[in-house]
Amino acid sequence: MDVLIQVRKVSKTFEDLSGNTGGSVEAIRMIDFEVRRGEFVSLVGPSGCGKTTLLDIIGGLERPTGGEVILEGERVESPHPKAAMVFQTMSVFPWRTALTNVEFGLELRKVDSRTRRNKALEVLHLVGLQGFEYKYPSQLSGGMNQRLAIARALALDPDILLMDEPFGALDEQTRFLMGLELLRIWEATRKTILFITHSIAEAIQLSDRVLVLSMRPSVVKEEIPIPLPRPRTIETLTTDACKEIEHHIWDILKVEALKGLAERHGQ
């Protein structure tokens, strides 16, 4: 199995340009890890630890201050054509139908309209939105809109999906169901997924491996394999083995989360 994503000694410091807080912010101190083809890896960390920044760097939207990211053997300087991102907040275009939303990336790549249309219909079917092609986002629920965002990403046939807390704004029940949906899509398409979340349960539900990040300036505190069998059902997710992993991760995170709380109070 080859390595698709290599994050090598990445660090990121933000220079403060406005001159207000007097100084720079070290968001990421040193992050180093690998993701192999077909893996589902989650990044878990306390709020404000720089997860989004890290994903932006891997996605080519930000430059690291130090270190580098290698995607499919190429150094990342700008968004990689074979990596697609899904964001946490609402990122579908409200003025386009579901179908034309999915076609967006293909439009940018000047794919002809027939190919675009077929691909979009295929992908919408894959994420379970068949029948909703001509609806507008305002007519769809939150969960459906995030599925739409995922469909749009999938339409570009990426090898890698970079997902930044895509289900963060959904309620818990929808979230769980969306997680199952995502796993179904993953198993059908065998993409490589790097998934950010602050929910331990979600990370365990979905991933092969969980990387726990520390508080800012962040490093990888620990890498935890999730040997639970697939498919992950309610049964597998309530076993003792699973609970143990959850406790373990929480123990690590607890320390970091409290540090974050203290810092915010200090400010």
Binding site: L61, P79, A84, P94, F104, L108, S138, L170
Partner: protein, 250 residues
């Protein structure tokens, strides 16, 4: 049910105004009764006395409006896309909004003379500010996540503008246009009231000076009905454009 009640109340309100108007005309003998005013308005429309003047005013308004949207959008976009330029000029434009622009009318008349140009210019000046401000807002309020998405898909600058920024701008800019129409109309009318030989504004002063009060009131009533209808129509279009409404939550 409530809609029905609302309509009833609105009719009641208008009815009360009508009655108040009647009382006014009883108290002030030279003040015509509302019935007479309405009658005169109808006569106006049928005899066609009003049409050449209406045409002139509409021409001035239309031309002024066109100028205000062309320059307004251009200036608005310049202010919103270029940060330094925006920071320098925006406060100036905001202050200009609060200045009674009618005060510029004599300047326009001095520069352009007493013809149509000054009226068009006045209409344009009145109309340009809401267009500028709404264009700025339209560009600024583009959802950041949408821009981020565009970047992650390697959209070119032109693609970003055409497919992300422009659609986001449609609604606020259209609102700006709606306000601008009313203000351009006002600008044209004010210029005509002040110094003119033709147009609806001229008619008002003319009828006043020749003591034809019913006709004067009829013109005013006509102007009001015209403005309110156009405004309502544009508002309806605005509402139907709601799928362009970018401000929303999960």
């Amino acid at each position: 049910m409530t809609l029905y009640l609302t309509r009833v109340l609105q009719l009641g309100f208008l009815g009360a105004l009508f009655v108040a108007f009647m009382g006014l005309s009883a108290a002030f003998p030279f003040f015509p009764s509302p019935a007479k005013v309405l009658g005169t308005t109808v006569t106006f429309l049928t005899t066609g006395e009003i049409y050449p003047h209406l045409g002139i005013t509409l021409y001035e308004t239309g031309f002024g409006f066109a100028l205000s949207i062309v320059f307004g959008v251009a200036i608005g976009m310049a202010l919103a896309t270029n940060r330094t330029v925006g920071e320098i000029f925006e406060p100036l434009i905001l202050s200009a909004y609060a200045v009674p622009k009618i005060i510029l009318l004599p300047l326009l008349l001095t520069i352009f003379g007493v013809g149509l140009e000054a009226k068009v210019a006045n209409a344009a000046i009145h109309g340009i500010f809401p267009v500028i401000l709404n264009t700025v807002v339209g560009v600024r309020e583009v959802n950041r996540v949408l821009l981020k998405l565009g970047r992650s898909m390697k959209a070119t600058r032109w693609q970003t503008f055409q497919k992300i920024i422009f659609p986001s701008m449609v609604l606020p800019v259209f609102t700006g246009f709606r306000i601008a129409v009313g203000l351009a109309f006002l600008g044209a009318l004010l210029a005509e009231l002040f110094e003119s030989k033709m147009g609806l504004g001229f008619l008002v002063t003319h009828f006043y000076n020749t003591a034809q009060i019913p006709k004067m009131l009829a013109v005013i009533l006509f102007v009001f009905i015209l403005t309110m209808s156009v405004n309502a129509g544009m508002k309806r279009t605005e509402n139907s454009l709601s799928r362009w409404r970018v401000v929303w939550t999960f």
